[in-house]
Symmetry: C2
Subunit: 369 residues, 2 copies
């Protein structure tokens, strides 16, 4: 027969799209959103220094990027007190999760995560033929004991944990995570997704130990640094584990300006502090708006707040749909019981005003619908 | 044992780096290059409209990119007379080759290319466990007959051809490639790399037939559009084949500004025409410089010229080393007999002046060394 012969793994994959992005939702509804509070972006924007670096570098976009991300890796290493060889830069945490799964997972391999945790990780596990095992959240937190028990049971090669957590915004203590690391099964790597680490209290961040081959930590410029569109993330780990990425990564895949902008963002500590306090204020505003409407905000160590709508998933989905119809883009957890919540990103006052205006109507519509 | 268990494919891979980029070479030599003529970048730069779009979009880098590349795919479709469903956008041709190989190639699968053709394709084939078969160039051209014969012999799932060719700059007629397409074995897909298509004569470009499931064509904004640092490429094919990329690609992996800049570049036909004529002039200058030094330029349909240094690979490597030592970054083919050449990218007069000044000294150094 004429045409491609896809691999058995690919033939078995659904032709699904993991997310529908807000641009597609805007096209579908025929109008832009008034408040873009669904993707946990940093609506406060990038550092002015990063912005200037992006603009200044545009004229040299004709040059291929530095395939080693030399300057960015060295700056990160200096900041974190590790060596550049402990760091690999990739196209966001998404891209690095792809490479990570590819390095370790094939048909017949087992991976553990929480039911309702980051779906793009699951997409990659399926994409390389792995078998995914999910354990439930416990009291709106990821559950290290259940994750560990399942990892031991199935002989997992990877176990995924995000701390602070997405989509609930909750967090575990450093002590709890360090105990989990100590109890990992042989041959199992903890994929510790720290996308929101800059918003976490210090005692929620385990000590950075790059001598341990069983832990990979993933961080990003998409959240606190306000550069989601640039696609810059990095993974931290033992140098021999990090070196393995060289075998599979797209060496010239990192946008040149994005690397330069990320470097400038990293150096702008004032902007980071500004965003951190703006996020604290926005979390308090979202919580107040929730309470004003009789809803319960879940305490958050991220740049978003999960708000318990007080009903089941169908009710929360109706609230979400009614908000989206009113130009307020938010998202929600995928599975029960967390899907009783809607997830609202931190934003500036004008967007939260739009939320405050739309939420009572959305709740009324949901109660009537 | 504590730590990762890599897949058998990964364990067998060398920890090599496919290319050393010019930034790394500059760090190694402790000085910048005076002439950056080695990576077939468009030294003439991006369209002023693309530059303006990159700068204008920087402030919205806090937004995740449109995961569907909706506007860019629609604009490309309009330009090319195909449907948006015939197009997938990716992080340069490199990123799309990765996905393409991943979709079709696993352990035990066979792939055919030319010995000395694009090494990143080979990197991906090895990276997914495929077996690569190489056939020689014939008279400095890729050889469709040899590629087809080998593809039939081994039952190849993919056969790679670049037209115009890198690293030699030569080209095949549309008729020749259409005959090759007609003679593809069952279950074999032609990976037609058209990175340099905007520099090719019209009769070197086969008709675009997106009804054929056995052909995928790869194009880029890195060459004629002067945006190598942005990492934007696209693949063209039958809609059901293109749809398969949705199963594996990083949906949110495309830099937001890069998409916006590429769209502006696509619309700036005047700049493209300017670059095309500047490249013709630069090719003529490079050829003249070569002849002035007693060397033979190979006719080119790309933005570079392979120059026959008149000796063997060792001699050409010495010429190249002597040029690099004098601040002129060029590259060369990897295998004999093409490695008798050095490969010089089109550049503006001041860089070609630097080449003209350095080449006699480099040749003398090579002859003495």
């Amino acid at each position: 027969m004429r045409g491609p012969r896809f691999t058995p793994i690919v033939q078995a994959l659904p032709a699904t799209v993991p997310f529908v992005g807000p641009e597609q939702m805007e096209r579908d509804r025929g109008a832009p959103f008034a408040a873009r509070l669904g993707a946990n972006e940093s609506v406060f924007g990038p550092s002015p220094q990063a912005l200037a670096a992006l603009q200044a570098s545009a004229g040299e976009i004709w040059k291929y990027p530095d395939s080693t991300s030399f300057e960015l890796r060295h700056a990160l290493a200096d900041d974190l007190g590790v060596a550049p060889e402990n760091i690999v830069v990739g196209a966001g945490i998404d891209g690095l999760l792809d490479s990570t799964v590819r390095l370790m997972v094939g048909t017949g391999d087992h991976v553990v995560t929480s039911d309702g945790a980051y779906p793009t990780f699951n997409f990659h596990v399926a994409g390389y033929g792995g078998t995914l095992h999910k354990v439930p959240y416990r009291d709106d937190h990821e559950d290290p004991d259940a994750l560990l028990a399942k990892a031991h049971e199935v002989g997992a090669k990877l176990v995924y944990l995000s701390n602070p957590d997405n989509p609930m915004g909750t967090w575990l203590s450093a002590e709890r995570i360090e105990a989990m690391i100590a109890a990992l099964p042989e041959g199992c790597v903890l994929v510790l997704d720290e996308a929101y680490v800059e918003f976490a209290p210090a005692d929620a961040v385990p000590a950075l130990d790059v001598t341990d081959p069983a832990v990979l930590r993933f961080r990003t410029f998409s959240k606190a640094h306000g550069m989601a569109g640039a696609r810059v993330g990095y993974a931290l780990g033992r140098s021999d584990v990090i070196a393995a990425y060289e075998k599979v990564r797209n060496h010239f895949g990192m946008n040149r300006s994005a690397q330069i902008g990320a470097l400038a963002a990293l150096r702008d500590h004032d902007w980071l502090a500004h965003v951190q306090s703006a996020v604290v204020a926005a979390r308090e505003s979202i919580a107040a708006i929730a309470r004003d409407n009789g809803l319960v905000p879940i305490p958050s160590a991220t740049n978003f707040v999960a708000v318990d709508c007080g009903g089941d998933g169908d009710f929360a989905r109706r609230v979400l749909g009614a908000l989206v119809a009113r130009g307020v883009f938010v998202r929600m957890p995928f599975v029960a019981p967390e899907d009783r919540c809607i997830r609202i990103s931190a934003g500036p006052p004008e967007m939260l005003d739009a939320l405050a205006a739309a939420l009572p109507q959305a709740l009324e519509a949901a109660r009537n619908g």
